[in-house]
Symmetry: C2
Subunit: 236 residues, 2 copies
């Protein structure tokens, strides 16, 4: 076939997947027990366990100690949505990435920022605004507030050559991130920087990154709707 010797655990996975995709096993049905599959394929239990455990990790089945394994109710249509460094992303498409720094300054935290970054109101924060261009076309505005405790040298960076994301990664290892994606209109300044109309819808990603005990930074990323979309693929 495609691969002469598929690993044994992959064969078991393929068998169970087949039972699901063919409809032989419907949502809620019980999958054959590990002992049964072990006999059927003539492999050790560890191997069967690995196969079914991976199916559980992928969300196709759910397992209950003592009860058994059942086909998951909704095969979650899901996939890893990766929020990546814009520089990498553009280069991967084989295009040229450039950027223009619009602001690089220290500001005082207002109430919302103070809360988000876990600092007192009025505390100093680094603030940068830049436009990212792909082959000369503006595709993202990056409006970022940074906790000075995490990246003291932030303002001295040359963000033409190193993106803030890259610098922050180097400063402090990332331990957690929260983000939300929504549709919104750009502010007047944003519209001008992106060279779009004020009524052009944009994809706005707000992202907050945490490094250990500190919130490292909060970024607002604005993408012109007509020039950018997130896409994903899910395969059983």
């Amino acid at each position: 076939m495609s691969t002469p010797q598929l690993p044994a655990y992959e064969q078991v996975k393929a068998f169970v997947k087949g039972q699901i995709t063919s409809g032989a096993l419907q949502a809620g049905d019980t999958v054959p027990s590990e002992a049964a599959l072990q006999q059927q394929f003539g492999v050790s239990r560890m191997t069967v366990n690995r196969a079914v455990k991976e199916l559980a990790t992928e969300g196709l089945v759910t397992r209950q100690r003592g009860s058994g394994t059942v086909v998951a109710q909704w095969h979650r249509i899901s996939s890893m949505l990766a929020v990546r460094d814009i520089h990498e992303e553009v280069l991967e498409r084989g295009h040229a990435h450039t950027s223009r720094v619009l602001r690089l300054e220290t500001v005082a935290a207002d109430a919302a920022l103070a809360q988000a970054l876990g600092v007192p109101v009025g505390a100093p924060l680094f603030h940068s605004v830049m436009v990212h261009l792909e082959n000369g076309v503006a595709i993202q505005i990056e409006d970022r507030h940074v906790n000075p405790a995490v990246a003291p040298g932030y303002l001295a960076q040359d963000f033409q050559t190193t993106t803030p994301t890259q610098y922050l990664f180097a400063c402090a290892p990332l331990t957690e991130a929260r983000y939300s994606i929504e549709a919104a209109l750009p502010s007047a300044a944003e519209a001008k920087s992106l060279d779009i109309g004020r009524s052009a819808p944009c994809l706005v990603i707000t992202r907050c990154t945490v490094s250990g005990a500190h919130v490292a930074s909060q970024a607002r990323l604005v993408y012109p709707g007509a020039r950018y979309s997130l896409s994903g693929n899910f395969q059983l």
Copy 2:
């Protein structure tokens, strides 16, 4: 500590994660080999292998047979983005979900639809348009084209009680899905149905589901930007 007896493989995972989050291991550094970890923790190699393999699955490290294990270049800020049934989602928030069916008809496939669904141009397709409301407020328009070969009884369904997603799941097991997320303005009809202005930005998810050899359906889901956002969380 929190759990008196953490499984051995979890302890190994926690150790390596700690090395990464603390900065002792930077991106690109090599992680101790399985043999080394095995000695350090006094466990069998299978246990160490499981620990490191899971870290690789989570994307924290990459492994190369023959070379070794290295800390991944960018800890991907990512998380499972689940595209779920709107009915479930609203109920989970403890709110009431209702819907209004605006259209339920047969149409002829235009070029774009024919391509997307893998049918000839002009072939009959089922077409439904409905509005989903959360506590009486419109939060989504679902504009869907269905391949009649997959769900012949589609037009006869009562979509007040069963969502199209649910019905299609029952008809044909899902094997693949593709989606894209973008920001766009609603059409005049969509704006009216959602009770928003024509200039209100919307999140538009286009989703194509595949069942075996057939493309089952293509859906365009329009969310008012002010009332809906996708959010996610990533933890090391």
